[in-house]
Symmetry: C2
Subunit: 170 residues, 2 copies
């Protein structure tokens, strides 16, 4: 297992904890999607052979103030984030479908070395022509999320801004 994958898991755990907080406080109801797996062989109630499905969608979805929320979480130890190597075409299509159906779709990127976290709405992400985006570019495309105490990654406060921009104050 490479170091960047470990970093990724750490960051996802912070998102999981934040979702637990949102769920327990009845603020938002967001769940991690299970990893899609193709089961090849079962013996008893045990899966003895399976492979990861290539066509996964995104990491999380759920509901907030009646809005459908769907997002992908990424982290990097580099100073730029490479969209094309981190987001597959079918994931972009999935996010486009969510957006076109009236949902709120975005990615959350954590730059581990700089300790900076950004939420970028899909509609901004799809408009850019370069693949590598640095912190400055992320800041222009989306919103910085400052780490807080509880929840540690308060991305819902940013989703509020997106809803306000799209639907007016609710």
């Amino acid at each position: 297992m490479d170091i960047s994958r470990n970093y990724g898991l750490d960051f996802e755990q912070l998102i999981d904890k934040s979702n637990e907080y949102y769920n327990s406080e009845k603020i938002a109801f967001i769940n991690k999607k299970p990893t899609p797996i193709k089961i090849l062989s079962v013996s008893g109630n045990r899966i003895s052979d399976a492979v990861f499905e290539k066509k996964s969608t995104t990491d999380y979805n759920g509901i907030y103030k009646g809005h459908h929320i769907d997002f992908e979480v990424k982290s990097t130890i580099k100073s730029t984030f490479d969209i094309s190597s981190n987001l597959h075409q079918h994931q972009m299509e999935h996010m486009e479908n969510i957006f076109n159906s009236g949902g709120i779709s975005f990615i959350i990127i954590c730059f581990k070395m700089e300790n900076k976290i950004f939420l970028i709405p899909f509609e901004n992400l799809k408009q850019i022509s370069v693949s590598h985006i640095n912190i400055e570019k992320c800041s222009n495309l989306g919103f910085e999320i400052k780490e807080s105490l509880n929840p540690s990654i308060d991305f819902i406060s940013i989703v509020d801004k997106i809803i306000e921009e799209q639907y007016g104050k609710q």
Copy 2:
């Protein structure tokens, strides 16, 4: 594999096909959730040992006219449907969370022998005190879905009625 499970798979395939139709026609964007699995051992890119997670949520979720949709699909060869043996407590809690967050949550039940299909909104399901419900009771609690050509199980037409009842005509 018992016969009722085979029947269940058949019916889920009809729902999958209907979702494919909705997705391709850009009517609704609904996906089957992957089965939650706990991976115990991986060799190479192959999963060599895993177990099914007990706490699954529901079968499908997605978005329609901006509304968050979440539902469970069941089928039976019996003349009554037993809620308590078919829906776990954590699934009921999941559906309650969806409903309380402003989403649309329901179950679709197929009575294979009678060739009758019903959609029952969660808010109606949770109010009943008996566990076994027959076709007549389902008809009172929810809406019958008549099989059609394409999509074969047009449950979105019923979701329209639920939206109209809850939010007025859209």
